[in-house]
């Protein structure tokens, strides 16, 4: 009898706790990176906490670089750390996170009809082995920014092909150098890091080449179409219209050159639009144009697919709370918040018809097809290994102009195939 009273007392007290949830909020821990526009994120999370006062979000801020963030996050997950509930995943991670058992499958939370509201490329990136592991927060696609004022001055319209781009850049540099010696033709991301894979995928893809064969089982770097594009970058871009300094640039450094008015053309993701038109950061406000990336004469434009997905940790004790947060943050209202205040391109299709989004980002109308056709990087659980081999290959041929591209490409192919076979289970 005494025991019974005791048990019911415990039961009552725990029920009381749930009722008092308003005063003691549950804590949801979110591992994320250092954002380009931190104030916009702070505001978003405030809005969530206001709407759900029984949940408090604590953020753990990791480095800005995708790879550094990946290493920190996966280290926690390898240790089966249950002290955090959700995280952001780069679009290249779901295969790895799913295969390793780190990310919770979200099929029950995120049914098929809800997925249809999102751009198909972002949903495809969230899937692995027919289950879904992420909810797209936004879409990133490579695009070409250019100096409207300079192109107009020399009577050019935005370049359709890479050769046009090189020609325009050289003409403009010739004319401008006497008064503007620091001006360069092109600024992009060519440091040995993940971004190099994206930039090179775009060159190779727009030359009808590819990183992997169509079925994704073999490396395709030594195909003539792939190699010719790499040779073009080495001979016409890196050492010619761009300075060798691009070999040390990630996104922030390359954008800095552009917003200081020191580059005619600039390759970046959608977020650069907001910063390039923000007078606190940019000297070229109002002179910025943005368009589809160029292509080679016989190819068509290719944009690398980037972007970030929300995922729930398989070790989380609060998956339902985590889902509440994700559903809120990926709602139309919040994706609009990020699009309007940070120029992060929405993953939700409907927002591309939203007048307020289009007022701040008029370029979305023209670029919508780009968002729909962005090309993903290889989807495999061994992607981090493949990426390192690609980075080494591209960085070597660009930084050492005397290297033999054929030899380097074949070597990279051989190594990538070895790991693809290992992942496919055909090598053992």
């Amino acid at each position: 009898m005494l025991l019974l009273t005791f048990v019911s007392a415990i039961h009552e007290s725990s029920a009381g706790q749930t009722r008092n949830a308003n005063t003691v909020p549950r804590v949801l821990r979110f591992v994320t990176w250092k954002a380009d526009q931190p104030a916009v994120w702070d505001k978003a999370i405030q809005r969530f906490e206001h709407a759900y006062p029984h949940i408090r979000v604590e953020r753990e801020i990791a480095p800005h670089s995708s790879t550094a963030y990946h290493d920190l996050l996966t280290q926690k997950l390898k240790n089966r750390d249950d002290s955090f509930d959700l995280f952001l995943m780069d679009v290249t991670w779901p295969a790895e996170f799913a295969a390793a058992g780190w990310a919770l499958p979200l099929d029950d939370y995120f049914p098929r009809n809800a997925r249809e509201k999102f751009l198909p490329a972002t949903i495809a990136a969230s899937m692995y082995a027919r289950r879904i592991y992420g909810v797209p927060s936004r879409i990133d696609s490579g695009m070409l920014y250019y100096r409207k004022d300079l192109l107009e001055k020399y009577g050019f319209s935005p370049p359709a092909t890479w050769h046009d781009l090189v020609h325009q850049a050289r003409t403009i540099l010739e004319g401008e150098h006497p008064t503007h010696p620091l001006l360069r033709g092109y600024s992009g991301q060519f440091q040995q890091y993940e971004g190099l894979v994206c930039d090179m995928l775009e060159f190779v893809g727009s030359h009808n080449g590819s990183l992997l064969t169509e079925d994704g089982t073999r490396s395709n770097l030594a195909a003539p179409e792939s190699m010719q594009a790499v040779r073009f970058v080495r001979e016409q871009i890196v050492q010619r219209i761009a300075t060798a300094a691009v070999l040390t640039y990630q996104e922030p450094e390359s954008l800095a050159v552009f917003v200081q008015g020191k580059a005619v053309f600039h390759r970046n993701w959608p977020y650069a639009w907001g910063l390039a038109n923000d007078p606190r950061h940019s000297k070229i406000v109002g002179a910025v144009g943005v368009t589809t990336l160029p292509h080679f004469a016989h190819g068509s434009s290719v944009s690398a697919l980037g972007g970030w997905l929300y995922g729930i940790s398989a070790y989380s004790h609060h998956p339902d709370d985590a889902w509440t947060f994700i559903a809120f943050m990926t709602s139309p209202a919040m994706q609009k918040h990020f699009a309007v205040h940070a120029s992060l391109a929405p993953a939700r299709i409907a927002l591309y018809a939203d007048p307020e989004v289009l007022r701040v980002n008029p370029q979305y109308t023209a670029l919508f097809p780009v968002f729909q056709t962005s090309r993903p990087r290889p989807r495999t659980p061994v992607y981090p290994i493949i990426s390192h081999i690609l980075q080494r290959y591209f960085s070597r041929v660009l930084a050492f102009p005397e290297t033999d591209i054929v030899e380097e490409a074949q070597e990279a192919d051989r190594r990538i195939n070895w790991f693809l076979e290992l992942a496919a289970g055909t090598r053992f």
Partner: protein, 298 residues
């Protein structure tokens, strides 16, 4: 009163805590790593299952051209950086050993680079080496902005900058070790030499240098082992680029183990670095140790 046996027992009891620490924090992880290095283990391919492959990872390492290149880069780094650090360190030690006004300040100032955390120093030098606003370019070229060099974009200059930063940062540490060696040389020897009419150069060559040998070897030992394990400089400044030109072996090991999740192979690299530094230490200990013992006996 106490017998030698009970002395020995007391001795063992006294060193036991230290031994336990070494066993738990050094020996066990080292052994565990060695065992891991005998497995094929991919975090992201659980379907493969961890399988024991003996020395398969080591065989693979000996055939891995990327690892070879990383080893050579590391060796080049060790050779260049330690040479310059010992030379500069000796110079620093000789200067701050002299008596002059404000010596205390100079001694303190010399240690500043060494006291700054490597990550901070690397970030600072990354900015200094920048192609647009870097102070190195400003000092060298002033207003001639067209001559500015992107130091970290070229494989050779990038490697040079990494070596230079390490020399800048740790020469004073080598200097400190050499200074300790200088301070134990009795002044009387110099006085005698002066009376015999020895020039400053002769005093340095025939007295200072021979007596400084043990301290120099100790500095060399510390710097070689430290330089062999260089990581943070590369991580912050170049990420191994461009084209793997600054990829040192520890950074390659980090990438395989932490980014790629190849636990077996990554551990193999770490174990190899461990064995290499262990062998280096033994080699030095045998030479330095015997020298020190000789000195004690005489």
């Amino acid at each position: 009163m106490t017998t030698p046996t009970s002395d020995q027992t007391t001795g063992w009891i006294m060193v036991l805590p230290a031994l336990a620490c070494v066993a738990v924090f050094s020996l066990y992880p080292a052994m565990d790593s060695f065992v891991l290095s005998l497995y094929r283990l991919y975090v992201t391919l659980p379907g493969l299952e961890a399988s024991f492959i003996g020395f398969g990872n080591y065989e693979q390492l000996f055939q891995d051209p990327v690892a070879h290149q990383a080893f050579l880069t590391t060796l080049g780094f060790v050779l260049l950086s330690t040479t310059f650090e010992i030379l500069l360190g000796t110079g620093i030690a000789l200067v701050i050993h002299e008596r002059f006004k404000g010596r205390g300040w100079v001694r303190g100032a010399v240690l500043i680079p060494w006291a700054i955390p490597t990550v901070v120093a690397s970030q600072m030098w990354r900015f200094l080496a920048n192609d647009q606003y870097g102070a190195i370019n400003f000092v060298l070229f002033g207003d001639r902005v067209n001559a500015y060099i992107p130091w970290l974009a070229d494989p050779w200059t990038a490697f040079g900058v990494i070596v230079m930063v390490d020399v800048w940062k740790t020469s004073s540490f080598a200097g400190l070790l050499v200074l300790a060696g200088l301070q134990v040389i009795p002044d009387g020897i110099y006085d005698a030499a002066r009376i015999d009419g020895a020039t400053a150069w002769q005093r340095f060559w025939h007295i200072t240098l021979p007596l400084l040998k043990p301290a120099l070897l100790a500095a060399l030992l510390f710097r070689t082992i430290d330089a062999f394990r260089v990581f943070d400089l590369v991580f912050v400044m170049t990420q191994g680029g461009p084209g793997d030109a600054t990829q040192v072996i520890q950074f390659y090991g980090y990438k395989t183990l932490f980014t790629e999740g190849r636990v077996g192979y990554g551990t193999t690299i770490s174990v190899t670095v461990f064995v290499a530094t262990l062998l280096l230490s033994l080699l030095y200990l045998l030479t330095v140790g015997s020298k020190l013992l000789e000195r004690e006996r005489t």
